[in-house]
Amino acid sequence: MEQLLNDFSFGLFFWQTLLFILLLFLLRKFAWKPILNAVDEREDGIKNALEEAENARKEIQNLTADNERILKEARAERDILLKEAREMKDSMITDAKEEAKAQATKVIEQAKATIEAEKHAAITEIKNQVAELSLGIAEKVMRSELSDKNRQIKLVEDMLKEVTIS
């Protein structure tokens, strides 16, 4: 211990303290501050970059989810539209069929009516013609009949008989 105390050099202590404190201040200003700042900045930068990447990843995930949702919705809508269209088509076909049927029935009815009317008219005409023909025949017959006096009287008599009966 005494040897140590005897060996203790005040000059070296003085220079060491002075130089060390000087070194402390110089290094603080020119080395440690810029180095630690640069390291901190870089670490912050890396942290931010990682966070940003994470955010971007999440965003992309959200976007994909959105896309999928939209796609699903679109598909569903398409399905609905198709269904509606199908239904509409079916109903239209049914309607058209019914209408056509109704129309056809109507036309048939009309045709039937026309036919009936025509038939009536034809029958009437035939009747008229038959009557005319009958008259003509009767006239001819009459002429031939009335050439004989007896026959005329007989005929009148017969006719009168008939009239009374009817």
């Binding site: 040897q3 060390f20 290094l27 603080r28 810029p34 630690l36």
Partner: protein, 361 residues
């Protein structure tokens, strides 16, 4: 881990002290050595070399030739404040052989220290064989100061370079900064934040980073063949621990002082007993920091140097290669110790700051 370290430190401290005690009788040994056999001479020489290496010096010696007494290196300026400022080169001492006269005073270099002597250069000793001569206020630029300057300059250039590379290179470090940036982040994430807490750690980052790299680089520089020994010098570790101590004192909040002087949650008699213990702890903590770093680093230096010295004492193929391998292994271990001690000093400083700013829970 802390306890193991403490035990290790205490053992190392004993080692150092025993070594120092044995070194105290050196002057007598030196005189003896001149007449004794060459092997003892070699041992003494190695011992002296180690002792000189551990101590600070007024010259930078790369290698020396003991036969011719020549030393290859350069001397450094001596700055003395003693009735005025005296500045001269240490070469004037001629490695302790000449007296230097400045401003009417005589100065002598004796065992890596400058003493004021009479004109004859007499050194008086006390009973422990320590010189009792007056020491002038010595602010010399010694080998240690040069080494501290080198480490500081290295740190400054390295980390301002790293700071600039962020600006130039767009927040990505370049070159050697790629190696040091993870260490800076490690100090922040594993030392500062867990011990001090998210809220306060930023204030202490400057100190923790500086002290970590300063100690680490100093320790590493101590492992180079230049033979510098910064962190193995108690004046340096004292200065470092003092800064930690002062920062802790000024960071202490109400809660910290309350835990020292009036421990909450224990009976009053215990509070009275605990107060002086806790107060003592305030001083012991930085003291332990100082001793731990000093003892570890000087012990490492002594072990490596001793093993290298053993090579010359064995002076045969088997023994020398064995001690070389051992020295090599210990050097590798010292590389680990260099960073470990820096880590321990930093993490304990952070822990003390953490105590000082802890909120009541």
């Amino acid at each position: 881990m802390y306890r193991i370290n403490l035990i290790k430190n205490i053992t190392l401290l004993f080692l150092v002290i025993t070594f120092s005690v044995s070194a105290q009788h050196d002057p007598a040994v030196e005189v003896q050595a001149e007449n004794s056999n060459p092997e003892a001479d070699l041992k003494t020489e190695i011992k002296n070399d180690i002792r000189h290496h551990i101590k600070d010096a007024y010259e930078f010696v790369f290698f020396s030739d003991s036969k011719t007494g020549k030393k290859y290196g350069f001397s450094l300026p001596v700055i003395l404040i003693d009735n005025g400022l005296h500045v001269f080169m240490a070469s004037e001492f001629n490695h302790g052989e000449s007296l230097v006269q400045k401003g009417g005073n005589y100065y002598k270099l004796y065992h890596s220290k400058i003493y004021k002597t009479d004109s004859e250069g007499h050194i008086n000793y006390d009973i422990n064989h320590f010189p009792t001569n007056e020491k002038p206020l010595d602010l010399s630029i010694t080998k240690g100061v040069i080494s501290i300057l080198t480490v500081s300059l290295l740190l400054f250039l390295l980390f301002t370079g790293l700071a600039k590379s962020y600006v130039k290179n767009g927040a990505i470090p370049k070159g050697i900064g790629r190696f040091f940036e993870p260490i800076v982040i490690y100090v922040r994430d594993e030392i500062a934040i867990p011990n001090i807490g998210e809220k306060h750690y930023k204030r202490y980052m400057n100190y923790l980073l500086t002290v970590f790299f300063f100690i680490w680089f100093s320790n590493l520089l101590g492992l180079t063949p230049f033979g510098v020994n910064i962190t193995g010098n108690i004046a340096v570790t004292f200065a470092l621990a003092l800064v930690t101590f002062i920062i802790t004192l000024f960071s202490g909040n109400k809660n910290y002082w309350k835990h020292i002087f009036w421990m909450p949650g224990v009976p009053v008699p215990m509070k009275i007993i605990l107060a002086p213990i806790e107060l003592l702890g305030v001083f012991i903590k930085p003291f332990a920091l100082m001793i731990r770093l000093f003892a570890n680093m000087s012990a490492g230096h002594i072990v490596v140097y001793s093993l290298l010295g053993l090579m010359f004492i064995f002076n045969n193929f088997i023994g020398s290669s064995f001690s070389f391998v051992l020295a090599f292994v210990i050097s590798i271990l010292e590389l680990l110790v260099a960073v470990l001690q820096a880590y321990i000093f930093t993490i304990l400083s952070a822990l003390y700051f953490g105590f000082a700013v802890a909120e009541e829970h």
